[in-house]
Symmetry: C2
Subunit: 465 residues, 2 copies
Amino acid sequence: MSKKDNILIIGAGLCGSLLALRLAQRGYTVNVYESRPDLRATDISAGRSINLALSDRGLKAMRLAGVENKVKPLCIPMYGRLVHDTEGNTFPSNYSGRDNEYINSISRGDLNGLLLTEADLYDNLTIHFNKKCTGVDIENNIASFYDYKTKEEFTAKGDVIFGTDGAGSSLRKSYYLERKFLFSYSQNYLTHGYKELEIPASAEGKHLISQDYLHIWPRGDYMLIALPNLDGSFTVTLFLSYDEGEYNFNNLTTEEAIKNFFNSKFPDALALIPNIAQEFANNPTGALGTVKCSPWHYKNKNVILGDAAHAIVPFYGQGMNASFEDVTVFDAILEQHEGDWETIFKVYEKTRKADTDAIADLAIDNYYEMRDHVANPIFKEKRAIEMALEKEFPNKYFSKYSMVTFKEDIPYHTAMTKGRAQDKAILNLLVDKKITTTDDLNSILKKVQLETEAILEEDKIAGLK
Amino acid sequence: MSKKDNILIIGAGLCGSLLALRLAQRGYTVNVYESRPDLRATDISAGRSINLALSDRGLKAMRLAGVENKVKPLCIPMYGRLVHDTEGNTFPSNYSGRDNEYINSISRGDLNGLLLTEADLYDNLTIHFNKKCTGVDIENNIASFYDYKTKEEFTAKGDVIFGTDGAGSSLRKSYYLERKFLFSYSQNYLTHGYKELEIPASAEGKHLISQDYLHIWPRGDYMLIALPNLDGSFTVTLFLSYDEGEYNFNNLTTEEAIKNFFNSKFPDALALIPNIAQEFANNPTGALGTVKCSPWHYKNKNVILGDAAHAIVPFYGQGMNASFEDVTVFDAILEQHEGDWETIFKVYEKTRKADTDAIADLAIDNYYEMRDHVANPIFKEKRAIEMALEKEFPNKYFSKYSMVTFKEDIPYHTAMTKGRAQDKAILNLLVDKKITTTDDLNSILKKVQLETEAILEEDKIAGLK
């Protein structure tokens, strides 16, 4: 293949800008259309600083694009959860028994800006801002746009179109609405929504609580979390039911009600969030949805990646990492089959779909774990045993969380299947008193391994996944 | 409540006509709008005779509406599957070890016609045919229609609107498109489609193969089934991949290819289907989809029931039964909370959703079981043991199939959870040689019960459903 195809990418968010960068590095002519203004020139965050957890799968993709060293300075390592009880006491719970394993708090805007700046280095890559995609003619690969600046509509054509336009993807909507093929599609919402608040930095620009942890206030039916920012502030997120329970978004409508709620449930957090009433009233309440669909492509013409193909809830801290990993996986398949887009798209979905389905399901599991199990005695015992196993056998034992978060070469689906069996094994061994937290670790490891294998084998015989 | 509300029902199919009948019996003024012509006056089957399996959940609903005795004469009992191999040999596999348990082949058209005729007996019930619903204003409860006869558009208002308009429900579409609330929705297609064919009656109007069975030709990647009709014919359905494998709908495009396929895979069936090439070419290829959604209602105004709320694939023979059971469940809740529609709708979904989700999942499980497991030695051994247990302990042992099909008072979700654990128990006991088909049945029953309980307990500890 002498001449490289013209690539049109819809969306220059985290996934789109990384994909654009990688395709430009491969020599394609790339045009990216993004609905928002250039976030490096305009503050589009409405005053809020959104941060995310970057972990090993995401970092692997950064390495692929050659930007890992530029990303690292933006990262704040978080070594575990710091659980806050209603009395204001705190309890650390590490993410791993291995010292070198942690996740990173990073600003979405800073990381996206870095990828855009890197993309600007390529003459064969152009990013068009303020261009909102309004639909795609998937047969003829013509995308329609509205230009927010000129107020004009226009179309653009690509040899291949990539939709990396997020959970509300216009390319995915065209798949759904054009009915050219049987399109399996699901959107599932949790009963809870979320709202972002802020713990500002101290007058000296320091963090007011430890920056080494993801802070969590688990309260069963709802919870609060906080991730550190480089400027000393924390972005706080409240996860709460829309309309159920004593406290919910529908009935917390007055300053008094909001303050009473925080005062009785999160008193230590309340003391750190000076503008709580104003932020609670002004910041939007976001929905928590999971999107799955199939197929991800149409013929050899166009394909969706990232949140456009698989939006997930944020409770495993894997949304961004999964989207970045899409690019890693796609890039390897492109390398194998370059020139044959239909094969590339098919092999990509066949390789990848089980894994993005798995992380979507794991993220929902973690919603319950974080709200509830974190404070549950038997789950605490399990966690203590796993930390000890990881510390004692750093190359032999990996918890489900470690496989998902730190073992970037284990596919999500494998991590889920093995991790769930392992969790079930430990919990049942504990309840049956076949292991206790004071046992010899060699003996515990052996029992957990045997029981995990037995569970996997029994599920296999029964034809279960 | 002195005055009863005006009820508007969209769709006079199986679920809609039963619901209309039941609400009329309760004294409501009911208007039903149906897009098709009156099937009692017009042949709308395009020459094909569609039949379904009516079982105990459906019959319970018929009893509720007082029509069970009129339905019974339309039924042809099927006592089990008759498996056909590629040599033309047949092997019976009963549905139950109890003699009085069977399913019934029934004509969809005949049953629907019976319900419509019954509905006509009520002065407070009116059915309007040829009126296609084009959308619903869910806030103001105004439904828009197109009249196929007069070619005119019109609207109709109800105090309460019920959407029983099937898998492509227009009321559900309004929930999706109006975005007045977070609407969780999924449509998932199998990789296979289906096509209906016919085994005609003999010259004397008799069945050419036994009418006492559901005939099945399982071939792993595809399968053929046949259900008897009252006129001596059988409706045959081929389930086949659209585009995968050696044989698929995309490549079976010539008479020669079709006949070669049947001749090598279903020779005994081919001999009974004289018009195979013509039917294969002319009959449409249907898609196999599952629809789930939530919520099922909007405020106290409107609600969806039946396939509109939960379309499922046909492999458990429970689609119609589940829709009829919706009416049974709804009716009991209406009895409890009459006058408070919002509570009725909420309690109905809370009561019913886990069960319709369960039967949707079970139907997909059975797709694999029928294609594959039916001919698998270990699954055959399991089936033999279950038949023996049901025969020996008719009041103590119920297979998953029996719980789903014959135990109308066990909710689908309970049947699924217990049935899956029981299946897993038997399969693992067989593989581990802890039971064999020649063991004493008392001993087998005890082991299966203990193992089932252990599996349920272990799943519970691990927080699995």
